[in-house]
């Protein structure tokens, strides 16, 4: 069995706009192991969703620049749209952000699923719908939802239907983009746990779970990757990232998370001053340096990705001297 489902090397994808190039994904390297859920976190505009689109569609103005992406042996960046289409839903599947708002209001869920499947050349016979019903049962939905319209379903139910649809052909690799963000806390927990269940049941092999919410990733991700302003910042096993973050940005992100049990009276949390840089024609250097309390002259040069430990990589010039406990220094 192959060890990695996905291997990404020095991937660059920019948005080509009139004013120039927006470097939304700039030199990103990582791999996704078989059976793994990789959490991808960062602020809005850090390139996490763009990374997903780079794998899936690369629609204009997004332009692939360089780098390699190997998805179970397919070099997907070199494939034509026609070839790639064959992989959709079968090998790679995406749950886009706001997918739960993308249902057709005039079609029953059943028709919607049938249309989608026949688009992929799948026969929508009884056997297919038996499988659909089985999967609906898995996400604790009654098969009667098939005969309902999307407006009759709650947000949490819609998101579960979406999960069933996107994994109906047992894709090896699933990208889930902010699937819990628009949901209530109770549905959030169910949907997030469901993603891990799908992996445990081997319906999907691996997944990338994109979210801005680190505390959800802590619950279900095996490893976490942090992006900042289009650059790779840090990747590592979940507990390593949370307990021993090496990148100052990762540390600041984790420190800014409120948790039950902490009140402002007892402990004032600190946010990160400033805002992320504009990615239009952005030059060399660590992109976090303007907001980083530890920035030095060296940070004017783009940091190199270095290995901290097994499976743990960071792009920061000062990770060694700063250590994992940044407290007390400024």
């Amino acid at each position: 069995m192959r060890e990695n489902i996905l291997e990404v090397k020095n991937l660059r994808a920019y948005y080509d706009i009139l004013k120039g190039q927006v470097k939304a994904v700039d030199d990103v390297t990582f791999n996704l192991k078989n059976g793994e859920i990789l959490g991808l976190a960062g602020e809005s505009g850090c390139g996490k969703s763009t990374l997903a689109s780079t794998f899936i569609s690369r629609k204009k103005p997004l332009k692939y620049i360089s780098g390699e992406v190997d998805l179970v042996g397919h070099k997907i960046m070199e494939m034509s749209e026609k070839e790639f289409k064959k992989l959709r839903l079968r090998t790679i599947s995406l749950i886009p952000q706001y997918a739960l708002d993308a249902f057709s209001p005039t079609k029953k869920i059943k028709t919607y699923i049938a249309d989608l499947a026949s688009e992929q050349g799948v026969k929508t016979d009884k056997k297919f719908f038996d499988k659909v019903k089985e999967r609906l049962d898995l996400v604790n939905l009654d098969e009667s939802v098939l005969n309902r319209y999307s407006i009759e379903l709650s947000g949490g139910m819609k998101q579960r239907v979406i999960m069933v649809i996107s994994t109906i052909l047992d894709p090896e690799f699933l990208i889930a983009d902010e699937i819990t963000s628009a949901l209530d806390v109770s549905s959030q927990r169910f949907v997030a746990t469901m993603l891990a269940n799908l992996r445990d049941l081997e319906i999907i092999k691996s997944a990338i779970f994109i979210t801005h919410d680190l505390s959800i990733l802590y619950q279900i991700a095996d490893r976490i990757m942090i992006m900042y302003a289009g650059n790779f910042a840090e990747i590592g096993p979940t507990d390593e990232i949370v307990d021993n973050p090496r990148h100052p940005y990762t540390r600041a992100l984790i420190d800014s998370l409120p948790r039950v049990g902490i009140q402002y009276k007892d402990k004032r949390l600190a946010g990160i001053e400033g805002t992320p840089p504009h990615l239009l024609e952005i030059g060399e250097g660590c992109r976090f340096r303007q907001r980083c309390p530890y920035a030095i002259d060296k940070c004017e040069e783009t940091p190199v990705r270095e290995k901290v430990a097994e499976d743990h990589f960071v792009s920061c010039w000062r990770w060694k001297e700063l250590g994992s406990d940044l407290s007390g220094q400024k």
Binding site: G156, S187, F190, T193, I216, A252, I272
Partner: protein, 307 residues
Amino acid sequence: MAKNKDVVMSVQGLSKVFKSGILNPEYTVAAKDVSFDIEKGKIISLIGESGSGKTTVGKLILKLIKLSEGKIIYKGKDISEIEDKDETKEYYRRVQGIFQDPFATFNPLYKVDRVFDMIFDSFDLGFEDKDKAIRDALYDVNLNPERTLDKFPHQLSGGQLQRLLIARALLMDVDVLIADELISMLDASTRIGVLNLLVESCKKHGMAVIFITHDLNLGYYISDQSLIMYKGRLVERGDTKKIYENATHPYTQMLFEAVPEIGERWDPDEEFLPEQVVNDVNEFYKENAGKGFVEIEEDHSVLFSDK
């Protein structure tokens, strides 16, 4: 409720029923029998999931919709009796709202300083130097007036726009601020800044804040008092720490179980179904039939039955 508190506003038995349809009207109870006091300089978080009625309560206080039953007493007066134009204006000067989407709040065609000019056109705020007052308010919320006032909304970040709205509330010396999902659209790194700012300004200026949120962690971090709403009912009310330590209503317990937290993983063996809470709540009401809304300890009350 305990005495000797500096109550600015008192919400008593608030109910709101929405009617939809003309021939066969359907009635939706968005809020039923909600009571609480708002104290000067205190932050109350109003926590609930979608459809719990938390925004309805906010809108009722802001007089954006008419209430069906109950009273909201502000400065000794029932606000539904405020009909006079000047009185309404005075009410809106002291009771204001900030909403989720800061980009929808600002007119995209005008520079942001217009928001401040407008309040000076409409109200006599009693400042001698208008520009200085605006600048001071902006420094108060950690914004640089030179770099913000002559900008269009799209040139500023969501966090900056929310700060501007807080500055506006400070300038008007607001008594009660309704912050409806104020920071849900902001990033983790910036929202703590806005939150801290809200706490500081509230304490410094004695402004009371109703912080409406679905995020338990944020609600816990910021508030002195908490209100938990479920299906239009206030199910738990009281001191935030007491509710956290002694969550009694099944819905509150479910919320605490479901909230993702760093450092504490969900139990993978526990089967968690969001639908389950409906049964749990019904059973809880059945077991405690007739008890109603009871104070179980000082400053902590729980709804034991809904009849």
